[in-house]
Amino acid sequence: MAFSALPRPDMPSPQPIDAVKVSDLRSPGKQPSLLVRGTSGETGDRVFKFGMLLCGLAVLATLGLIVYELVLRSGPSWHAFGFKFFGGHDWDPVNEQFGALPFVYGTLVSSFLALLIAVPLSIGVAVFTTEMCPKALRAPLSFFVELLAAIPSVVYGLWAIFVLVPLLSNYVQPFLSRTLGWTGFFEGPPYGISMLAAGIILAIMIVPIISSITREVLMVVPQHQREAALALGATRWEMIRVGVLRNARAGIMGGVILGLGRALGETMAVTMVIGNRPEIAKSLFAPGYTMASVLANEFSEATGDVYLSALIEIGLALFLVTIVVNALARLLVWTVTRGQPSRANA
């Protein structure tokens, strides 16, 4: 920083006005300022800054409050079950036996399934919009993909119940069980309501996140990387693979993890199609349950302290996992896009 502030001999310096620090002129200790009328400016400034600081602190306090409340209220369950909570299979509110394993399993499997479907789609869309499609198509395409993110979760769920699920049970599931049934992942009655349905609807919901981040990351890949690849005689796909995607790996990974974060915490659409049965089944046609769904379904009806606190402990676990996942993703995206202005003219 200090170096860049030095005047360069070969350039006319446009800096001198910036160099006059306004704060110097107005701080009372250094010199009496003609620019400030009396002390009202000083007092006003101090009050204003304090007020804005309070708002900033409110953001910190909110996160603090979330952690505090979750930890405090999950206490009874933690004391009753300890770490066994996340290894237990039983979810029996009547006998106050709680184990969260089926929910953890459901959340992980449905999110993983969603990534499996969404990642290739999102990268394909991002590559198409940044590298292949005519310039006139870029803005409308991005707009449409981003529109997917604007649809409320409950509307996805509604559509999934009445359109996606019948489609799955009538066509997709019979086909899958005929062709891939031997693997064991696609067996059982094709009810439609299943882990598979949850994974698919989640995939549709996280595509806009992953593809918009990927697009951003692809845009900051320096143009000369593409030119160099083309100059060596690469085809367009080779240029994209070697010159673009390879350079953007870390950022794309960040986008994928951000999508994962969203998928893990997604509640309504999943609750509406996953079947809500706390079982661990190998087949993707079987119903399941996720951490978010059990909260949505049982929280307002939970009777008894241990029951409620067991649910809050699931909430705490969900919170911690998404925090870690999101922090990781931000870090990855940040390391790629840091300091590079996005390619405005591209």
């Binding site: 306004v22 003609l34 620019l35 009328r37 009202s40 400034d45 204003f48 800054k49 007020g51 804005m52 600081l53 309070l54 708002c55 900033g56 409110a58 953001v59 996160l63 979330i66 979750l70 990268i123 394909g124 869309v125 590559v127 198409f128 292949m132 529109l147 997917l148 604007a150 409320p152 979760s153 409950v154 509307v155 509604l158 559509w159 009445f162 359109v163 593809s211 593409r226 083309l230 690469a234 085809t235 367009r236 796909w237 240029m239 974060g261 969203r262 915490g265 997604e266 509640t267 309504m268 509406m272 949505a296 929280f299 307002s300 649910l311 969900l318 919170f319 998404t322 922090a327 931000r330």
Partner: protein
């Protein structure tokens, strides 16, 4: 870039092997396919919303409260108004804090402490909405001892704050430094400069950010399940359970009655139309009212 193939077929460059050219075409085709696969659900969802929704919206739907199971008719009027009420509460609580925090970050937060707040806001943005519902439940509902519109408002406000904070900061940073310096030069105190010059210039951008946050929480269901809870009747009291459109759509969608399914579709269409018009109306008003950059 599209010229690459043509350039390669020029005689100065050796002709590309057939396999490589085929790979290129296959991958282009694959990329087009992904776009189709991604856009298909989008159009399917909107088409279905219109197809199932338009036929189900009628005057009764927009003006009446729900009828008991088995009786035809009735509507979601109370849920539409309830949603507006909860969103108003959320905006009253969330917008000042979000904008304030954004101002702090842009004007005073170019330091380590600012980075901490910035990171916290990003983290907060990623917290699942259902978890925020739990927190609103334990800080409001448990003290009031019953579900309330206020609890729903608090939950949605918490979700609005990080988005508003970050967009406000970004928009304020776009305002040229020279404008601030001109104001200082005229002897205007810093706070006044921030409010009357910087914030005023960035108004349309800041409002766009607020609308973004608004649109995002307007369709939220999960944080309202055990805060606002829902209500079959009219309610405009802050500390009573209140109906909300997304909640009503949810409970109707998972019900076994055709009549309710019909109303769920109508509700979903109304929800999307309301969100889009709210955002469009504010953007339009802002664009006409000020001359700042969006």
């Amino acid at each position: 870039m599209p010229e690459s193939n043509n350039a390669a077929t020029l005689h100065t460059v050796p002709p590309i092997a057939l396999r490589r050219r085929i790979t290129d075409h296959v991958m282009t085709g694959a990329a087009v396919l992904t776009v189709i696969l991604v856009l298909a659900p989008l159009f399917a969802i909107f088409a279905y919303l219109v197809y199932r929704g338009v036929g189900s919206i009628n005057w009764a739907f927009l003006t009446q409260t729900p009828k008991p199971v088995g009786e035809a008719g009735g509507g979601m009027a109370n849920a539409i108004v309830g949603s507006g009420f909860i969103l108003a509460l959320a905006s009253i609580l969330g917008v000042p804090v979000g904008v304030g925090a954004g101002i702090y970050l842009a004007e005073y937060g170019r330091n380590r402490f600012g980075d901490v707040i910035r990171f916290t806001a990003d983290v907060l943005n990623g917290v699942p909405s259902i978890v925020i519902g739990i927190v609103a439940y334990s800080i409001v509902v448990l003290y009031q001892r019953h579900f309330s519109a206020l609890a729903g408002g608090v939950a949605l406000a918490i979700m609005m704050i990080p988005t508003i904070t970050r967009t406000t900061e970004e928009m304020l940073l776009l305002v040229p430094q020279a404008l601030r310096e001109a104001a200082y030069g005229l002897g205007i105190p810093r706070w006044r400069t921030t409010l009357s010059i910087t914030l005023r210039t960035a108004t349309s951008g800041v409002i766009t950010g607020i609308m973004l946050a608004f649109a995002r929480v307007a369709g939220e269901t999960a944080p309202l399940l055990f805060t606002a809870f829902g209500n079959q009747f009219w309610n405009l009291k802050v500390n009573e359970p209140t109906a909300a459109l997304p909640l009503q759509i949810f409970s109707y969608a998972i019900s076994p009655y055709d009549e309710w399914h019909r109303q769920a579709w109508a509700g979903a269409l109304v929800l999307i139309v309301l969100i889009v018009t709210a955002v469009a109306a504010v953007r339009f008003a802002v664009r006409r009212g000020t001359f700042g950059a969006a």
